[in-house]
Assembly symmetry: C2
Homo-oligomer: 184 residues x 2
């Protein structure tokens, strides 16, 4: 009996999360409505608030599906590693669902400390492969040991973010090359 109940709870939670994620990718964070999540998932608002104490808690849970960890490349040179990372990242920025949702998280983080903490975690996860690549480059002596990894990563990732969300210019291979040339 307990097992059946557990499964039912898991199914409810899964359908609430799936519906929240659907609304999130369609309308951004501010477009998610608990009323509408309840209606579409068939799970009552009381039950939703039993599993997630606040709207932010549910949003944070749904957002954790956005990122996707992937192992850092290890080609043997920092230039080729960065090229592989930035090319993959550029493609994600221009095609993946998270790229159109992320500004709504950045926006909410300006005012909501819970969302800000979640965004900080997402950011660290997105940047982890870059840090791994820079650390290996330092071990090989390709990048000076005392050079700030955070500065280097801001200099290569910043221009991609700028193009995707601010200037809306395409991010092509020549652009990625010019960014790597500037820092290495």
């Amino acid at each position: 009996m307990v097992q059946i109940l557990d499964k039912r709870v898991e199914r409810s939670k899964a359908s609430v999360l799936a519906e929240t994620y659907r609304q999130l990718t369609q309308s951004g964070l501010s477009g998610v409505s608990i009323d509408e999540v309840s209606r579409a998932s068939g799970v009552s608002k009381t039950t939703i608030y039993r599993h997630w104490p606040s709207r932010s808690a549910l949003l944070i849970d749904a957002c954790s599906r956005l990122g996707r960890a992937y192992p850092p490349p290890d080609t043997g040179t920092v230039r080729a590693d960065l090229y592989a990372l930035l090319t993959n990242f550029a493609e994600q920025l221009q095609t993946a669902a998270w790229a159109s949702v992320y500004p709504s998280i950045i926006d909410a983080a300006e005012r909501d400390p819970e969302i800000a903490a979640m965004q900080c975690g997402l950011h660290l996860a997105f940047m982890a492969p870059f840090h791994a690549v820079v650390e290996r480059a330092k071990d090989r002596g390709e990048v000076q040991r005392d050079r700030s990894a955070a500065d280097l990563i801001a200099a290569v990732v910043g221009p991609l973010f700028y193009r995707r969300w601010f200037s809306k210019e395409p991010i092509n291979a020549d652009f990625v090359d010019s960014i790597i040339d500037a820092v290495i």
Copy 2:
């Protein structure tokens, strides 16, 4: 009589815009409520919609107050010009009201074509002094004539945006120096 009416209309429009701007800087674009603007400004919703055909139109009008045009520096060298521009920009990013509102515009622009067109205009206005500085550097032969100004500007402005809104790291003078060193 017409003049008195005109003045009354101007006063109404001004108080609607002022209240919209207040809500905008406090809660971001998605936090602006026409009901609340009407209540706080004492101007009826019917009158508001007579002046602005849509919520987006009112938001766009209020957002046009965000940017502030300032003349590009002209120190004689591209390095000093960029340093002046980026230092000023870094300070604005870290203190000005528009910096906490801008992500909500970026977010809305993902889904609303009217807001996207307005954001494009704001972006061009923000970047105009950078283009002026790079053009002058080309005239002086400090930057190669065939080098893409857009690529260069993305490389210097992108890292600042990245730090302000994504990594939330401080933007200090050393960081600005390292960014300019990389591109010049």
